[in-house]
Subunit: 249 residues, 6 copies
């Protein structure tokens, strides 16, 4: 069976990350995964939330996620007009934050809070996984910035992290679903992995459907295949900034 | 290593489901999993959300989740005073809804909307998985009610569904985490399975940690062990209401 | 005339208070008045609102009231989804707070804030008066707890307090209205009294009706009759905790 | 004992009602009770809330209450900035609505909704009772307007209604409390009565205090004394508009 | 062509300012411009917003604007019920604040914050310009109050300020538009000027229309004509309070 | 005096408009004015707000404005988290809507609503005027789209529209202020003009300052100079789409 855009089941869409696209932010990228486009900015502030300060476990990292009203086929109501973020946005930004904290040495981050804003400019499926993959690069740039300014001695990163989606569409197991696949998928799984090949997050869902243990195993294989490519791309872009993390380059 | 409450790593806490605890609701249970107590009510209304009516795909099922302010060790601010549900509540109620829709024949549900309210009276870890396990029983009772009144010809259920948590705590893989385990877990995984042993949802998270493919496999084994017990308990309670679904009794 | 549940006009419904139903709260009860069921928890925190600290008049006591969505015959929208508490809830929790402050020695409560959460599990009329009657017991337990831990020298209570409703239904004056009576009452009166038989609150309302001075007098008689029974029951439950308050035992 | 403004315990403050102070509203008054000033407008709209239309019991009457930010000694935050009405405002506007509905023949009001807006321009105690007394006059004018235009055959009023406060201040029972009395009162009671001398609402509260049966009786006497004067004043102002209601003129 | 109320194109409506209409506020006026009536109160508080304190540039002045629900021909929903101020109100109160800050010596205002509340009692066009003209008088009174109490050495005012509207209605350029003119105007311009004849704000808008350079010039002439009269009236009212500012008296 | 970026007082920054940057929207551009970057999308929907439908005056056009959290030097709180749009955003989006409606033939737009979303990706002063200039191009593309599909017979545009800012900075009158100029400007004026050289909007403000009639005249000259260049650029981009409007090409 052919996929809607002619890809093979185990093909990723083309990925492109453009760095330094915002002159104000400490780190910023535009990530494009097929037609999905997300701006990720990393803001570094020398302050901590009071609850974090009391914990005494070092810095903090948090994420926020939003979509421009016309990033989608049908225009959505602006979150600010509805008076709150919707449940989906909250769920996604919690995921992005957890994913990036899993590879960050918060203790070494000291008194800094990093906020990763992931804003979807154009959506075509996989906006949350693209956000994670792009936000990691923005984060690395922001941290490198702190090192260059002498505010941190070394990069407070323990590994790289990237993410993609896999799923069952029309009975076929496929990698990196675009929107038209995602909206008809029987099973949808978002996977976050480190550069060392360990899982950070597995979120598999059967909407009005279920899946077997064997399918789970094959989907995890597909995801690993895709994420290895994403991590290689992140390394090629970041160069020496990833030295010493995420396994041999 | 001994667990905090003396259980073996593969032991569930004791589970008790009390039916018909609310005289108004079409279905209602109190589920107790160790010290976690959740009231689940199923409300049946003969109306559909307008978007669902337009889809023409039958009935609808949705869930809401809340915690009493002092269900937890520290009193929490009442959601209604904060002016909105928090992100965690929204995420959990979306999960409960998806889990129960996965075993419901919405087409057969006709013009009815079922709302499952899961309200935590006392929390000690695993409130979302207890909600799913309990809500299924409330749902079955509510549907049976529709059949008894002649409004539906047969139970619009395709299978049973139950859920539990597994995780890595102090390096050990354990089943059914209580709060003190959950709050120190390196890896936390919530698993939803049908009576037939198929996955509906896998949500595995490493907060500031990661996990291997092999650990994933062992955790899924543990979860399956626990959920089979939960499903057996559901069947024993519901009796003939589960005839023909969820495999041989 | 017979009442809907066969009671005489001056009969209360059966009342049952179960203590210590929540392992986290400093005081907690389930109060059942007929089919009305309310969970009351008392939370003690060693902090004061800033405005209260400035007043320098001792501790503070406040109450919050909520209803589970399906505590009623028709499911209600969850307060948290509407984005605010409704006017009725706010009015009731202000009443509960005033009632309990009237018998509390706030000066003696020192630097503590007590929050009484009254959450209706099942409603059948009289939820606000049941909340007051039950919350007093939870409060006494929480205060006894402070004494046992040596944080307070003696119970900061000056009296007991309980409440019931009276009204005119189909021209008859009746005590302790259930929901079907309440919804058709011409006059509805909620009365809060101390153990010494003094009024704390009289809230009499004629919805699209009015009432005479003579009826007022008879309704206050009925209420006093009922509240005396409630206070006796509170005393029998609390035992020595009520020594020295509320008149001779 | 002398009251702060030299009145005797059974003296009302001077009352003045100015009609037609708003050129847009169907009925409008400025009521001044001592230094308390409230603008009451009655808006008539030919529409019904959908729930009321379904009831099929005639028209509807509702009230809203607000305070200008600097109507009080200390400037208050504007309700609109806080994002909601506070609990006190909601409680008061529910009271005003009930009071006026008690003397209105809603069935005869047909398809009309009347909204009474009571906005406090300057507060010095008793704003809720002044609102009721003034709103009745605005309501009568608005209804007369409907009769004059031929939209209603006769005034849909069954009686007059007015309100005042009584209380115990420094151990003395007094009528019509001003702010400095209200803020130190041991007992505070708001009474709403019809022109025929029947009660519509009794709201007696002991804030950190209690009151006896005998005091209750004396306070009701005082209130009746005051309200009779208010009703006489309303009659003198409204003239023939009150013919046939509220007893002989 | 005749205007709806018989005025010539260059005629203002009659203006009346009544001072000290609120016993609580440090300054207060009722301003009437034709049928437009606005209550302006000035509240002085000895505190600064934290961001202003950090700037170290002296005191602060801010404004808030509201409309009573029935100040308009059709009753409007109360801002507090909608849960927020509408865009128009926010825009207007920002304008009023800027206008009054432009003539205030904030440095000399020291540690005080002045809040100007402009509440529309009855609207007939030009409520924002009437608010500015009236608020200046309330502000001057409040500042004089600070001088009289010895809290400030001299009036922290650099000039007077007043405002009016001009516009093109049915092709004619007119001064001081009433509501029926405003609602059909092709061009609507609000002008704020100081007593010295300098502009503080020019807000000209063509709703579904445009205007030429030449019309702009004529409209500014008309506005200046009107504002000079308003400033003369302010001076005549305030007397010696305006000595030394706004040019010769 | 030299400007911060070396421009002469009457120089604009470089302007670049890139069309069709969003695959979903009916019209979309990225406009860059110096370092200010705004994405403008035009969404066409075949529906009307109910109030507009009742007016029977044809279609409707509205605008919304937002800023990404890190579009500015200091990260701003996300509007959606604050629970509402701030006053500045509301004021700006009302301005954008009015500006574009002034050149649109709403009658000819029939049953369509056009929504212009202007989202600031990077801010460096002049975001509201860049939004207007860019949104016009997105609007023209969206309308051309309706013509190409045969849904409209001809472009419902009467003219072009563009905008820029002028102001007094350090005593000098300058065109097209960047952020560092804007934040220290004594006078700030935003001007919207049509292609025919007529004003649509003049918004001149002296923050803690004022300005003379003569300065007003010179500022309008400067603005006209800049806007003529913007309109020429719009025409060069849109080509035949602007035939017949905005004067000779």
């Amino acid at each position: 069976m052919n996929r809607v855009d002619g890809r093979k089941n185990s093909d990723m869409r083309s990925v492109k990350i453009t760095r330094n696209i915002n002159k104000h932010a400490e780190g910023s990228v535009l990530i494009e995964v097929g037609d999905t486009k997300v701006i990720c900015t990393a803001t570094v502030e020398e302050r901590l939330p009071s609850w974090r300060k009391m914990e005494g476990k070092g810095g903090w990292l948090t994420a926020e996620y939003g979509m421009l009203p016309r990033s989608t086929g049908q225009r959505m109501m602006r979150d600010a007009m509805r008076g709150r973020q919707n449940g989906r946005s909250l769920e996604i930004q919690r995921l992005i934050g957890r994913a990036l904290r899993s590879v960050t040495d918060l203790q070494a981050l000291g008194d800094y809070t990093v906020t990763l804003d992931c804003d979807v400019i154009q959506a075509d499926g996989g906006t949350r996984t693209a956000s994670i993959t792009g936000a990691f690069v923005a984060l690395a740039d922001a941290m490198h910035n702190l090192v260059l300014k002498g505010k941190l001695e070394k990069m407070p990163l323990r590994d790289l992290v990237a993410a993609t989606s896999v799923g069952r569409v029309n009975g076929e197991l496929v990698l990196d679903l675009c929107y038209s696949e995602d909206s008809t998928a029987e099973v949808d799984m978002n996977i976050v992995m480190t550069g060392s090949g360990r899982f950070v997050e597995i979120q598999g869902t059967g909407e009005e459907a279920s899946f077997s243990r064997d399918e789970t195993s094959q989907l995890l294989d597909l995801a690993e295949l895709g994420i290895r490519q994403l991590v290689e791309y992140q390394k090629s872009i970041l160069g020496t900034l990833t030295d010493g993390i995420g396994g041999p380059r």
